[in-house]
């Protein structure tokens, strides 16, 4: 066991109230008549329900599947019938509803057949990571980041196990370490194997001597494993603060611990990983502290996820207060529950039910007197006073310059403020404002991109239309030319004229000298024809044919005689000319 050499800037030492709830062992909470399992119980994206209303589900059965890498599976925490998949009020500071799977339990607590991998050493890191992912494990310290995402990091040297539990009142990790140190260490070994770390550092605040002792006993005696204790100070349990205490190194701004070769996991998460891999038990229950003067019994319960808070408050003997205030989480970072009916989720480490004397309502805020206590106390070395002014004036550029995004919302500044200004509330609001504005800007950029793409498309289409129109015009013109040329060749009128011309030319040629022979031949032809017609006439008269034929033949003969006579006169006149 070592003592930490380093510390972090600022921090406070509030009244701990740990002994209120850490004197009794962890108790198994009874099965509630109704389980309400929200599809989203962590930071990230909601899961998708994979059961139907009316279906019977067993304990440990997958009821909602992660939709993407930031999602986490949800399993039934006891057996029974799914009676509804509908929006229900959930544990969220907004007091809004979200989709939940509602199971009416049958009290049998019948579990699905599941077997783990006690010989997990034989499995490779991807397979183990997949089991962790399937089991729906998220960080149980409070924020609830999907554990498998953290375990996928590369080049990890050190695994930090967070047993700090610095927030007042909460003793869930303390009790867990006291009673289940062996299992936690098994979990740490699995985690070490998965991330491929060389060393493991378990950090525990010195206000938990029993936990330190039992963890020390369970830990393998190897130079790679270190148990480090450090003085109690809030918020040493913050990931970045703990890493600084244990290693003296700071996580770069905007970066992750993985950037400096460190992965940090909560003891509760280590326990969940051990149960998932060695016992095949998905994350269906967690240890939650029930404390506060409004409860007659205070202590830690292992509760099924989805159990309504009101059911557990009854179990712990809750006396209704004049101004009922139920806080999920601790007094520093927790939020007031919108209703006692909301269910316990993966990130619920504590339910605080104070009476009015114990946690008085915050005093009205007074003007800032520029004392600078907040800057001295800020564990992220920010200047809350400056941030306060800029938050009030909505100056997001200055807020970013003063590194508002590095604020871990621990509430130390509000705690030390002598004017009781709710600083952290301003910072949360300002962070939200900046996020919203950024989302709007992103949307505007996307809209602009789409608008420009559309403009380009319209222009292109107009050009294409223009081009096709031009092409069509050109084609029509070409066709017209083609057909007119064809008409020159084949126009029947033109052809007839041509023919007539040719005939005329021939006739003129006949009248030229040298055509006499032709005329004589024609005369002979006519004479031959006359002879044949005369013989036909004689034949017709002999045969006694009809008058019509005889008359026609007579006319023909006389016409031929006339023609011959004309030809003769023509020829004689030509001769005379000669």
């Amino acid at each position: 066991m070592n003592s930490a050499e380093y510390t972090f800037h600022g921090g406070i030492r509030p009244v701990e109230h740990k002994e209120d709830s850490n004197t009794t062992p962890i108790e198994m909470a009874p099965i509630p008549p109704m389980l309400v399992l929200p599809l989203q119980q962590h930071i990230g994206s909601a899961a998708q329900a994979c059961v139907n209303t009316g279906e019977y589900v067993y304990k440990g059965q997958l009821i909602a599947q992660a939709a993407d890498a930031n999602g986490a599976n949800v399993h039934a925490s006891s057996s029974g019938h799914v009676v509804a998949i509908e929006p229900r009020l959930i544990a969220h500071p907004s007091g809004m509803q979200d989709t939940c799977v509602v199971i009416e339990t049958d009290g049998l607590d019948a579990a699905i057949d599941a077997s783990g991998y006690p010989n997990w050493q034989n499995l490779d890191r991807t397979e183990l990571c997949n089991i962790v992912r399937w089991s729906g494990i998220v960080g149980l310290g409070g924020a609830g980041f999907p554990t498998d995402r953290k375990l996928n990091a590369k080049n990890i040297k050190t695994l930090v196990i967070n047993g700090t539990e610095c927030e007042p009142y909460i003793t869930a990790d303390d009790l867990c370490m006291r009673e289940r140190a062996e299992a936690i260490i098994r979990g740490c070994e699995i985690l070490k194997h998965i991330v491929g770390a060389d060393s493991v550092i378990v950090g525990i605040e010195d206000n938990k001597p029993e936990a330190i002792e039992s963890m020390g006993k369970a830990m393998p005696s190897s130079p790679d494993w270190k148990l480090v204790t450090f003085p109690t100070k809030y918020p040493s349990g913050g990931e970045k603060q703990l890493i600084e205490i244990l290693t003296g190194r700071q996580v770069p701004r905007g970066g992750l611990p993985a950037d400096i070769g460190i992965v940090c996991q909560n003891v509760g998460t280590a326990l969940a990983v051990k149960e998932a891999i060695e016992d095949g038990k998905p994350l269906i229950s967690r240890i939650t502290t029930f404390t506060g003067q409004a409860l007659s019994r205070r202590g830690n319960l292992e509760v099924r996820l989805g159990t309504p808070v009101s059911y557990l408050l009854d179990y712990m003997g809750y006396t209704e207060q004049k101004v009922p205030r139920l806080i999920m989480g601790g007094p520093m970072m927790g939020f007031i529950l919108p209703d006692a009916g909301v269910p316990i989720v993966k990130t619920t480490n504590c339910i605080l039910a104070p009476d009015s004397a114990e946690l008085p309502l915050p005093k009205p805020a007074q003007p800032c007197i520029r004392c600078g206590f907040c800057a001295e106390a800020c564990p992220a070395t920010l200047l809350p006073q400056q941030l306060f002014w800029h938050s009030k004036s909505g100056n997001s550029d200055q807020l970013e310059k003063h590194a508002l995004s590095d604020c871990i919302e621990c509430g130390v500044c509000s705690y030390v403020c002598p004017s009781s200004i709710p600083l952290v509330q301003y910072f949360r609001a300002a962070k939200h404002e900046i996020r919203t504005h950024r989302a709007q800007q992103l949307q505007a950029e996307k809209a602009l991109e789409r608008f420009e793409a559309r403009q380009q498309r319209l222009e292109r289409e107009a050009l294409e239309r223009e081009a096709t129109r031009a092409a069509r015009k050109a084609a029509a013109k070409a066709k017209a030319e083609e057909s007119s040329r064809f008409a020159d060749e084949a126009d029947p009128v033109q052809a007839a004229i041509e023919r007539a011309k040719a005939k005329k030319a021939r006739l003129i040629q006949q009248n030229q000298p040298g055509a006499q022979q032709n005329a004589e031949t024609a005369l002979q032809n006519l004479k031959a024809k006359l002879a044949s017609q005369q013989s036909s006439l004689q034949q017709a008269e002999v045969d006694g044919k009809g008058d019509k034929i005889i008359t026609a033949l007579h006319a023909s003969v006389s016409r031929l005689e006339q023609q011959i006579a004309e030809s003769n006169t023509e020829a004689s006149s030509q001769d005379a000319e000669k």
């Binding site: 959930i90 969220h92 500071p93 907004s94 809004m96 509803q97 979200d98 009205p364 805020a365 007074q366 003007p367 938050s391 009030k392 709710p422 509330q425 301003y426 949360r428 609001a429 300002a430 962070k431 939200h432 404002e433 996020r435 919203t436 709007q440 949307q443 505007a444 950029e445 996307k446 809209a447 602009l448 789409r450 608008f451 793409a453 559309r454 498309r457």
Partner: protein, 200 residues
């Protein structure tokens, strides 16, 4: 004085040195103005970046960029209802002018909406598709159309052309994902501000 004396004279030397320096810097500036010439008007880009890009035309310009160009030419900055007071303040900050209230002629600031087509009533005329400035409506002739909600800027331009009036503009409400903490209210600047309400 002879030529040598003239050049050795302090005054002449000074004048010559400064003339040479002047010429040198002139050349340098001339080169820089060519080498580092800025294409387009950078202020238009900056103004355009502040506009909400709904492309709705409520400012009576055919899109956000034309309005940005008009503002750069000196047009009023209060003609953008979708941007609202927030955009007016940002524009005023950028341009160093006084923020004015939104010009009511161009519409009033409304909460963000998203178009929704009642699909059963859609006749598939594609008129809304042609009207959408950001191609956020999907569909084909004689087939049902639908709006891609994430891409819709809520510009209203599709509502008018619809012959069967089947497009609704639905207000975007806060859900558990978009919810955020609000800043503390009723925080008087001095203590007596807070007391005044009770004392009176």
């Amino acid at each position: 004085m002879n030529m040598a004396e003239f050049f050795l004279n302090d005054l002449t030397q000074t004048v010559l040195v400064f003339l040479a320096l002047g010429g040198l810097f002139g050349l340098l500036l001339g080169y820089a103005s060519i080498r580092f010439k800025v294409e387009g008007d950078p202020i238009v880009e900056q103004i355009n970046a502040l506009l909400p890009q709904t492309q709705c035309g409520q400012c009576s310009h055919p899109g956000c960029r034309p309005y940005a160009e008009a503002i750069a030419q000196g047009e009023a900055i209060n003609k953008c209802p979708p941007g609202g007071e927030d955009t007016i303040h940002r524009l005023a900050d950028l341009l160093g002018v006084d923020p004015q209230p939104l010009d009511g002629e161009h519409g009033i600031e409304k909460p963000k909406t998203v178009a929704f087509i009642r699909e059963a009533e859609c006749i598939g005329c594609t008129k809304c598709i042609q009207a959408c400035p950001v191609d956020a409506i999907l569909g084909a002739a004689k087939l049902m159309h639908t709006v891609i909600a994430q891409e819709c800027t809520g510009c209203d331009l599709c509502v008018e052309p619809c012959p069967v009036d089947c497009i609704d503009m639905i207000e975007v409400t806060t859900n558990i994902k978009t919810w955020g903490w609000e800043a503390p209210q009723n925080d008087g600047i001095i203590a007596t501000d807070r007391m005044s309400g009770k004392a009176a």
